[in-house]
Symmetry: C2
Subunit: 315 residues, 2 copies
Amino acid sequence: MAEVPVFDATAVHAAVDAAGAIERTRLAFDRYARGEWEMPAKVYVGAPPHGDFRAMPARGEGFASLKWVTSFPGNSQRGLPVVTGAVFLSSAETGELLAIMDCASITSLRTGAGAALSAQALATAEAASVGIIGCGVNGAWAARSLAAVGFGPGVCADRRSEAAAGLADELGWVEGTREEAARQDVVVTVTPGEEPVVLASDLRSGQHLAVLGADATGKSEVELAAIQRCRLFCDDWDQASSGGELTAAVAAGIVEPGRVTQLGEVLVGRAQGRSSPEEITLFDSTGLAIQDLGMAIAVYEAWRRGEVDAQLAAL
Amino acid sequence: MAEVPVFDATAVHAAVDAAGAIERTRLAFDRYARGEWEMPAKVYVGAPPHGDFRAMPARGEGFASLKWVTSFPGNSQRGLPVVTGAVFLSSAETGELLAIMDCASITSLRTGAGAALSAQALATAEAASVGIIGCGVNGAWAARSLAAVGFGPGVCADRRSEAAAGLADELGWVEGTREEAARQDVVVTVTPGEEPVVLASDLRSGQHLAVLGADATGKSEVELAAIQRCRLFCDDWDQASSGGELTAAVAAGIVEPGRVTQLGEVLVGRAQGRSSPEEITLFDSTGLAIQDLGMAIAVYEAWRRGEVDAQLAAL
């Protein structure tokens, strides 16, 4: 009988801050690009008519993790979380189950960190101002992550004015319109993806876009005419081409595999990042199991170092 | 913040006995055969040189489950469990995480129950005596499950005499040789699969074999000449043909898909089971995620009815 630490959202956030999450995300992309970490395709289990469950396993750095996460889009109307579930962390040396963690906090941390990492790698050297379109929990973590590595101030836009105002207050940024947010140096979109929130007419030369919201076929946050003006990057081509922002563009024949560069390839120096200060870069984030693994390792190691408490469960 | 019950092995066994496990296993096979339950292919995450992790999701009866389980074969030499991990149970109606459970106890319960279910469905009406070849934890649960539905007495065989003697004592059965066990009416094999433990020369007409041990390519418990004399059944053709007892026979061209019947097809009346009292039937069990789901639902429902206690974890 082992005692396994269980980390709720509060414990996860106490263990890893935005800057730490970015470093772990960088490590995950780097190691995966080098072939040192493994990530099978995520598995979907349909739960019609409500949504689906996703099983996302990964292995690296002597650990293995599995995230079990929902996407139940109608849940927000029912007052229930759209994204919920939990994460297992195991030793890849002994197989032992090491920890159980809240899923939504891990997901927000790594999603926000991915946006900031893409800006560090792909934005111009002068890029500073940020536009956040969609100020829910993942948009807020993208803003915090960007602020943690020196970007800002920013413009926060959301149909729900209180969400935008709350985030702006927290960071000392301002609330603004979608159009204002879409014209900043670094633009992050985290909306439900039901209609485009970045249009071709919004674009300025040298911008960097981090597109986080579209995570299933049929969802899109950037109109096709705008995608055509961007140099394209993604977290993982297999996921991005089958269920991300670029899916519709691939189907329309506008985007070919050779036109999209995986961020990890840039980080390890195997592919070129931004090629000029004028280029507009777009990073399509679908969310990777290796990112979850990176967060889970960070939480566990913080606990091992005594930096955070967790409830112990006999299992 | 929700409080999620965490069930260790003791709580799992307090919640579900062998007879209950068989009824839940029957339900799982029945519903899956009718297309009401869903089970994507299990996902393997390699952890060389120690073994691998498997993510096994399923959905049915308003629930969804995910088992995260190791197979680290060398662990027994290190004094560590070969099979370890945990199970998530969620609501397929709301997505909410409902429970976390020990994995090895769920696995043993459903594996033993599967053997007993196959004997109920496929053995002759007169079959009574049982031979258990391999008296580890899964062999013991197969014996308990068969005893719970009226089979026995039996002969317990194991290279480790103390394992065979302990199981025989528990059930009022006897310890015997491999050859003696292999000649009983119902023969269960649960060995590491490194060499055949049922030979063609052991077979008697009318026997039923439940072959549980071979769960990966290269493993086999029944020699090919014996397989050729049997009418063949399996839990799931996709799993059985790619990583079960029948894999080598398929590769050798001895077994074709049309020759193997899924147990669920027999249970729902879409396929014939045993066709004569003389026929020898062989059930290849690879272990299905739907069986894990059936056990997990049973444990959770017992807790909801107040029949078993569980530790609560904030998550």
